[in-house]
């Protein structure tokens, strides 16, 4: 077993601290981006409110007409591809009004409008993630093993994976509207790690000395990072669809920052795509966990608390996938399932790790 390098561990903690500062500034920049855009769009919005409301109603009539009579094909331009039942729902986003003022595109590709605060925020997040990664790598080198062996390390490494996954997705899609949430969450994670879960660097107890720790936990953390993104999208989807309903009724827009956010339908579709990937990841987590349990305890499934919650999460997301194919369960209900699934992930990671005893009790808290 390689010797513990205490000074490297010290560097690691300094890196994490620096990363925390950078994330905090990025958080402010992301928030500034939302606020600024809300302000500029509010003006445009007020001017075009009446027009937008009218327009939406026209669209809905057109869409409705297209469903009852085949005379018009125009309704289909409003139909986004989606699972059965959902395709019939018109995309009732109040599009058009204020589109030039940074409204997100439904395809979530980058538009032509430059949002400087958001660009600064992304750059800062990338910098923070880099420092954060240095901290995590130092911790691993200091301990001579993978840096995920106790709650402190789960939180610091998990936070880094959340940030990196977010940045990776950003290279393909404009999800900057999630920045405040994601960076805020990473900040919470590394703060919790440093304040509540801090554990000095050390070797692994024999129960954790297995290459399955590397495989099982890394996939679990990556899937959780993806679930984090879809959780935020599902919450926004619910807000957005309420706002869309309000917009269709011509009521005032009380959440103008949501103009930066794509339509509820696009959020739902994007969340579904990411959830599908994360679900495969979680299935692997479950399978590798079982294989490890078989190696360690002689049974691949024993309904240990941690196993129970991993199973519950898996079933909830399986339910989510089903809901997306079940009439009447798409849209808001599916979004709620995605949210409940994520709450289970958080519960499994925090409450179960800290308060529930079981074979998996090696969070390294309190002992």
């Amino acid at each position: 077993m390689p010797a513990i390098n205490e000074s490297l561990a010290l560097y690691s903690e300094r890196f994490i601290l620096l990363a925390g500062i950078a994330y905090a500034i990025a958080f402010i920049a992301f928030t500034w981006d939302l606020v600024q855009n809300s302000k500029t769009t509010r003006n445009v919005l007020q001017q075009s409110q009446a027009a937008a409301g009218g327009q939406v109603r026209t669209r809905e009539t057109v869409a409705a007409a297209s469903r009852t009579s085949a005379a018009s094909g125009a309704g289909f331009t409003e139909v986004a591809t989606g699972p059965e039942g959902r395709a019939e729902r018109p995309a009732s986003r109040p599009t058009g009004a204020g589109a030039g003022a940074g409204t997100a595109d439904d395809s979530m590709r980058y538009g032509s409008v430059r949002r400087n605060p958001a660009r600064i925020a992304v750059a800062l997040t990338a910098l923070a993630a880099l420092i954060h990664a240095a901290g995590v790598v130092c911790r691993g080198l200091a301990a001579g093993r993978v840096p995920w062996g106790n709650m402190y390390e789960f939180c610091t490494t998990g936070g880094m994976v959340v940030a990196v996954v977010f940045l990776l997705v950003l290279t393909r899609r404009d999800l900057r509207f999630l920045g405040t949430f994601v960076v805020g969450l990473v900040l919470v994670m590394i703060t919790a790690a440093s304040v509540a879960f801090w554990t000095p660097v050390g070797h692994l107890v024999p129960a954790l000395q297995s290459y399955w720790l590397v495989i099982h936990v890394s996939i679990a953390v990556m899937s959780s990072a993806l679930f984090t993104l879809t959780f935020a999208m599902s919450v926004l989807q619910l807000l957005q669809s309420r706002r869309e309903a309000a917009g269709a009724d011509g009521r005032t827009d009380r959440l103008p920052f949501l103009r930066l956010v794509p339509s509820a339908l696009s959020l739902e579709n994007m969340a579904y795509r990411i959830n599908a990937i994360a679900f495969v990841g979680w299935t692997l987590t479950l399978m590798f966990g079982s294989i490890w349990a078989e190696k360690a305890w002689g049974r691949f499934w024993g309904w240990d608390t941690k196993e129970v919650w991993t199973f519950v999460i898996w079933v909830v997301y399986a339910g989510y996938l089903h809901a997306r194919a079940t009439r009447g369960w798409t849209g808001a209900r599916a979004a709620w399932l995605s949210i409940v699934g994520y709450l289970c992930v958080v519960f499994n990671f925090t409450i179960v790790n800290i308060y529930f005893s079981g074979l998996h009790s090696y969070a390294g808290v309190g002992s």
């Binding site: 059965e84 608390t305 089903h322």
Partner: protein
């Protein structure tokens, strides 16, 4: 602006009745969405078979599956909130003692046995019945779909989610028929199954479909889940597991009497046990001595075993570690615990040895502060019992109370209270060897008694008051707690799990698509081509596929793009406009 094809490019379709509005929006295979079928309502007139069929349709509906799945998730939760008998019987007993009011009620609801309770079983059995009822009709439907030709070409391709047009210049001299053959070839090379229609007619078309494996994946996934469940059940029926504590120097023989506890499956037969033997030669523990923060944390547990696969076989040396089981005679042996076993000798009032040997002490903390119970039922004239703790490294606090400070045996110490009388072992009821029932006993030693407690270092001995005998602490050995498992369903479960995973990936990420291409001649000699794509299920890459097909076709014919291919939404919109004009005629 690229010009749109004139409305007459494609012969107008207004002569035929317009398709039903929902036609382009494909229904998926959901075998029984009975909630939508009108005959549900007429329940009273269905009769017995009708009712059964109705119930079956309800059970196998997608909505029920979803409901049962969510119910399963909820039902699994209590098992993590309450202690479970199969895993922690003693914790359940203690819980029942501590909660005499609510405990039995919870027990009645099987909340200490959630995963074998009737209600939990009912949920997953219903779910799997529903699953079977779902998979079979789907499999049949898919088999038929695979064997049938792609569906007929819709009248108005422009209503499909992806639509575009191409025109082949008259100079290229590509006839509509030739164009369709080319299109069929192009689609075929992209993995589509193609069907050429109306080849010699005025408007030949191609219907194409690909991605049948998506549905195969879905069926494989669901079927494999049944496989996993069956494997687990078979493993439970024919498997067995047992525990054995083995002190250094002791030998375990794989027979029923060799186990401390044994849990057979329902169909277990003791002839299944192969009489191999395992001797624990040495058990080594390494504790962290470098780190200040984790000083004394275990780093390595290492058991050296001598095994014999049968009584007559040759001896073999093997190493057993945590996360690294030893396989022997169809079973696997796991290292799940360890501790100290102080070796003691108890002499009775007559001076005879009443007990001698190692006594397993149960560690309670990281410093291996271990509970120990010693029983000497053979002692005369009174049986003797001792209870106390063993400390590998004993220190004393200000009040003179000894406590354990390190897991290694730097200063081993036995702290005991002694009793004499009736140990209660003679009535034949099994007794826990780790507890001492003091109801029939009189205390001899203890902190509160005049005689005080017994404190022994290795090599020391103590004479009990009232001439009841003596006890000596002869040395220490280590022991390991072994779990021995045989699960014949394990490999099958793994195979099905892997199949399920493969099916899941195919089902989620493959795409089932249909493409139709149709041509017609423009009076000026150009060959006009239109195409439309439709996905079954979620498919965010349909637009990309449309672009790729368009490119492939354009390359073949050097056709002029009749509109911007990049933005197919735009194409769709303009197509809508074209259609609207046509319909307006």
């Amino acid at each position: 602006m690229p010009s749109l094809p004139p409305p007459s490019a494609v012969p107008p379709s207004s002569a035929v009745p317009p398709p039903a509005p929902q036609q382009p929006v494909e229904k998926k295979f959901v075998p029984s969405t009975s909630h939508t079928s009108p005959d549900d309502v007429a329940l009273p007139r269905l009769g017995l078979t009708g009712t059964l069929r109705w119930a079956w349709r309800q059970l196998t509906s997608m909505r029920t599956a979803l409901f049962l799945l969510l119910l399963l998730a909820v039902a699994a939760v209590p098992g993590s909130l309450f202690p479970q008998r199969p895993a922690n019987p003693s914790v359940v007993t203690k819980y029942l003692q501590d909660h005499p009011g609510i405990g039995p009620v919870l027990d009645w609801f099987k909340l200490f046995n959630v995963y074998s309770s009737p209600w939990f079983s009912a949920i997953y059995l219903l779910l799997f019945i529903s699953l079977i009822g779902c998979v079979i009709p789907r499999a049949i439907a898919h088999y038929k779909a695979v064997r049938s030709t792609p569906p007929r070409t819709p009248r108005r391709l422009s209503r499909l989610p992806e639509y575009g047009t191409l025109e082949i210049p008259a100079a290229s001299e590509v006839t509509p028929r030739q164009a369709m053959q080319d299109a069929a070839a192009a689609l075929k090379s992209r993995g589509y199954r193609v069907d050429l229609r109306d080849a010699d007619g005025e408007r030949p078309s191609v219907g194409a479909e690909r991605g049948f494996l998506k549905e195969v994946g879905n069926l494989l996934f669901h079927t494999s889940l049944i496989g996993v469940l069956v494997s687990v059940a078979l493993g439970g029926l024919f498997g067995y597991s047992g525990q054995r504590v083995l002190v250094e120097g002791e030998t375990f023989v794989n027979t029923l009497v060799g186990y401390d506890t044994f849990t057979p499956g329902t169909s277990f037969d003791s002839n299944q046990l192969e009489p191999y033997s395992v001797r624990l030669d040495r058990f080594q523990v390494t504790f962290d001595r470098e780190s200040k923060a984790h000083y004394g944390q275990p780093l390595d547990f290492n058991a050296t075993l001598t095994t014999k696969s049968s009584p007559t076989a040759a001896e073999e040396q093997q190493t057993l570690k945590v996360n690294d089981p030893v396989a022997l005679g169809g079973t696997s042996i796991y290292l799940v615990g360890n501790g100290y076993a102080p070796v003691v000798t108890v002499r009775d009032g007559a001076g005879n040895v009443a007990f001698q040997g190692p006594v397993v002490a149960v560690p309670t903390d990281g410093a291996y502060t271990s509970l120990i119970v010693i029983k000497a039922p053979d002692a005369q004239p009174d049986q003797l019992g001792f209870v106390g703790f063993f400390l590998p490294t004993a220190l004393q606090d200000e009040k003179g109370v000894a406590f354990g400070s390190d897991p290694d045996p730097f200063n081993p110490q036995l702290n005991l209270n002694s009793f004499y009388g009736d140990l209660g072992l003679d009535d034949g009821t099994p007794k826990n060897v780790f507890t001492l029932d003091t109801s029939g006993l009189t205390q001899l030693n203890g902190r509160d008694l005049d005689a005080g407690g017994i404190v022994l270092a290795p090599g020391a001995s103590y004479t009990l008051p009232e001439g009841k005998g003596s006890i000596s602490f002869d040395g220490i050995k280590r022991y390991v707690a072994l779990d021995i498992h045989h699960n014949p369903g394990q490999l099958a479960a793994l195979v099905f799990a892997v199949l399920a995973l493969a099916g899941l990936v195919g089902s989620l990420f493959l795409t089932r698509r249909r493409v139709w291409v149709r041509t017609g001649s423009h009076p000026d000699g150009r060959t006009m081509v239109e195409y439309g794509l439709l996905a079954r299920g979620e498919d965010h890459r349909l637009a990309g596929e449309a672009t790729a097909i368009r490119k492939a076709l354009a390359q073949r014919w050097l056709a002029e793009p009749s509109e911007v291919a990049e933005d197919s939404k735009e194409a769709q919109r303009s197509a809508g406009r074209v259609d609207a004009t046509q319909d307006g005629k």
